[in-house]
């Protein structure tokens, strides 16, 4: 059973068909690129998958079960997690707390436990557990020295990394990255590619990636889906896509 499957997925804003008849399947441990011209509907697709928008038609299946109509946080529980095109960190929280928030749905202690912290109770166990996990995760991203920094004070590149780390903290099966390299220079982009590689190797997760930086997309994606005006115009390996006339005409240029 595929990890993610969409069937005839589509959404219309007013008269605009932003995404239509969209069908993809993503299996375990894949790294798929999603490219297309500006306004093609890439971000909108992410919003559909993660429950931010309700599709006007079609279905989204995660491990065979429809997630349409679920709230974004419920979809997180199903194993989808994302980053945003424009970074959305919890700016006035520490780096570690940013990550800890993302463990929320894995925890279960209640209000009474919060107020009466009886030694040995769930509160202590779970908090100690996520503290450890959070620090480990940040260490993997080489951010162990930043745990107590305010997120807003991080340099841009680390903010991007933190956003990815936060998304990973929800322990997703599928990670959706929206233009992680936007605003980065080639050097920083290269580091980002290494980070993504690293995630691939250390986590049991599939990645769907939107990006306009071709060096990144072509460099790491196993397959690429190209959309324009909300519909898929091409699919294939980087090599195939590079040569696809339609893609060159609509997106890549010359």
């Amino acid at each position: 059973m595929a990890l993610l499957e969409t069937k005839g997925l589509g959404i219309t804003f007013g008269g605009l068909r932003a995404v239509g008849d969209f069908e993809i399947t993503i299996g375990d441990h894949e790294l798929v690129g999603l490219i297309g011209p500006n306004g093609a509907g890439k971000t909108t697709l992410f919003n559909l998958l993660t429950g931010v928008y309700l599709p006007t038609d079609g279905d989204v299946l995660v491990e065979g079960k429809s997630v349409v109509g679920l709230k974004p946080y419920q979809i997180v529980e199903k194993g989808l997690s994302r980053t945003f095109q424009n970074i959305r960190l919890f700016k006035d929280m520490t780096v570690l707390d940013n990550v800890k928030v993302a463990f929320h749905h894995k925890m279960s202690y209640g209000t009474a436990n919060t107020l009466f912290r009886i030694p040995g109770s769930k509160y202590w166990k779970e908090e100690a557990d996520i503290d450890k996990k959070g620090r480990e995760l940040l260490a993997l991203f080489k951010m162990e020295d930043n745990v107590n920094d305010m997120a807003k004070n991080l340099p841009y590149g680390k903010q991007r990394k933190l956003e990815i780390a936060r998304a990973l903290a929800t322990e997703p099966k599928l990670l959706l990255l929206d233009e992680p390299a936007a605003g980065m220079n080639p050097q920083e982009t290269k580091e980002l590619m290494e980070t993504i590689h690293f995630i691939r190797e250390n986590f049991d997760v599939s990645i769907l990636l939107i990006e306009h930086d071709m060096s990144l997309v072509m460099g790491i994606c196993e397959r690429i889906i190209v959309i324009d005006y909300g519909v898929i115009i091409a699919k294939g390996t980087p090599e195939e896509i590079k040569k696809n006339e339609k893609v060159i005409g609509a997106y890549l240029g010359q």
């Binding site: 011209p37 306004g39 936007a182 080639p186 071709m214 060096s215």
Partner: protein, 233 residues
Amino acid sequence: MLKVEDINVYYGAIHAIKGISFHVEQGEIVTLIGANGAGKTTILHTISGLIKTASGKIWLNDENITTASGHNLVEKGMAQVPEGRRVFAKMTVQENLEMGAYSRKDQHNFQADYDMVFDKFPRLKERRKQLAGTMSGGEQQMLAMARALMSRPKLLLMDEPSMGLAPILVDEIFSTIVEINKTGTTILLVEQNAHKALSIANRAYVLETGNIIMSGPAKELLGNDKIKEAYLG
């Protein structure tokens, strides 16, 4: 045309620009490159009068504009395409362009300029009545450029015009920049895409955490190993 002398800029306690000097001559394309947070946007904002300098001077055509109010600089021939487009989302394309011409005294005389920008960006002509906020990233970038051109600038400051754009548009944008420059507009270009920027610029400055660490003709920097390693990937 533009001369910046030893400016220092602070955000509260953060010393963002540490004594920077550079100049842009009439007719040139000059590019500022540098990593995230190096201070590129800050410099453009300072030149445009959005941020005040702590010390140093800025000259536009031999006029000291260090303390001039931002809104007066447009009349003096300076325009900016800001980082992240910053189009007026709830106004139509047409109204955005009218805002671009806001400072011009010849309010009824800019039909020719409409023709010029619509000629350069035909997409905008189709979408005259569309709300700018509903346009795609690339379209908004075109609008931001067109809007700046409506003031008939002699000096155009551009902040990362290629950010977030599809490759095909990136190429288009850069050729448009060259075109604009050819029609007599001097350009100061800030870019992450150092390769593209250097290949169209005359001269370049490299910025690192508030300091200029290198400068020279663009072609030379394009060949420089250190630049290659740090900025060209």
